[in-house]
Amino acid sequence: MSSVVPTTAVSTAAPTAVSRGLLGCECCGLVSEVIRAAGTPRCPRCGFALHARKPQSLQRTTAYLLAAAVLYLPANTLPIMATASAIAGRESHTILGGIIELWQTGSWDLALVVFVASIAVPILKIASLTLLVFTARRQSRWRQVERTTLYRVLETVGHWSMLDVFVVVLLVGMVRFGAFASVEPGPGLLAFGGVVILTMLASASFDPRLIWPEFSIDD
């Protein structure tokens, strides 16, 4: 992955911005040197607040994670939708129930996708971010490259968990045959949407630079 390195390193030791008195802007990417600032220095290009590390990153990530973990239970036990039809009557569906149904009707491939997006990704996200917060708090130097890669993957796949929310919203819109058949969203869907939003906020609050504490000056 890193066999070709098309950038010229300033030195082989790869000093950090912080150790050189520089701050990289999280918004526009410009590197700045703060000579004097009354309060929080601002990026001269985009005006975004410049920090060596995102402020209270670990505390905020932990708070979002706890909230997501609490909502995870109702998201998976309460029905995300209810179907009513003339033949089958009224039925409630949970997330896991929907996956089993897809599997049994022969769509094992889609069942797998929904399982990954709705069950695996939220759990792995909560578990991985917990690991990242825990190791960052201990200023661990264990597997730093792998932990950074893990963070990158979390940021990339995080929003895919919204899949089931869209599926239910679309089914509600599609299945409107009055007494024949109809679909209604359930309270579990709200909790599930909450889990997705909270885990996205948690990973946005985490600062991956905390995985590399060697040259850090604060905290």
Binding site: V5, Q144, Y151, H159, V169
Partner: protein, 226 residues
């Protein structure tokens, strides 16, 4: 009082009315890794070339495959398919002779009516409002930039663009429609509509634009007078 002053200064600085460069010195020749904070000097990248951080393998920069005029063309196309996708039916259902058509808006509206207002808002924001904002903000920023000008309010527009891009989920919505179709295929006859193909094209166009990133636009614009 100093808080108000700082906020005012921030707004003014955002609009380019106050020059704060006296206190903070920019180093456009450097790049700091967003994921491990290592610092490198920039060098021009050839088209399609990817610069990765040697320490943590994060992407530091990308050679432009798509210049701003190309990005503007893609964004204009995205606006067309976005409008098309929102006014057209996603699918048509046929249950023993009874037909229903559904658009994105109808789905959101019926979710709202069935008592899950927050979920309806969430879906409306991530599948409609934020993607629309991404397209409009890109057009607003890129159209003058192609002509070599920097639009008024460039900085707030770019900062808003960064935020809405993160929360725009057209590709997830598209996949959601496919799952929903499979789920009801056993119950009713489903015919995919123009809407679903429009969202498919929109996903591709937005993905191509997002791959180009925003840092290139920042760099190009900062060479122009505000």
């Amino acid at each position: 009082m100093p808080v108000v002053k700082a906020a005012t200064r921030r707004v003014l600085a955002g609009l380019g009315l106050v020059d704060r460069r006296d206190a903070v010195h920019a180093h456009p020749e450097l790049v700091a890794c967003e994921e491990c904070d290592a610092v490198y000097t920039r060098r021009p990248l050839s088209a399609g070339e990817l610069a990765r951080c040697p320490r943590c393998a994060a992407v530091l920069g990308r050679g432009h495959l798509l210049a701003v005029d190309g990005q503007l063309a893609l964004t204009s196309g995205a606006l067309v398919v976005f409008v098309l996708g929102n006014v057209s039916d996603i699918v048509t259902l046929d249950l023993r002779g009874v037909h229903t058509q559904v658009t994105l808006w109808e789905s959101i509206w019926f979710t709202w009516l069935s008592g899950q207002e927050v979920v309806a808002l969430l879906a409306g924001a991530t599948a409609f409002a934020f993607p629309l904002a991404v397209i409009l903000l890109r057009l607003y920023v890129l159209t003058p930039l192609v002509a070599g000008r920097r639009v008024r309010g460039f900085v707030p527009a770019m900062r808003a663009l960064r935020w809405v891009t993160r929360w725009s989920m057209v590709e997830v919505f598209l996949f959601g429609t496919l799952v929903a179709i499979v789920k009801i295929a056993g119950m009713a006859n489903v015919v995919p509509g123009v809407g679903i193909f429009s969202f498919g094209v929109l996903t591709l166009l937005l993905a191509a634009n997002q791959a180009a990133g925003l840092h290139g636009i920042w760099q190009q614009a900062s060479a122009l007078p505000p």
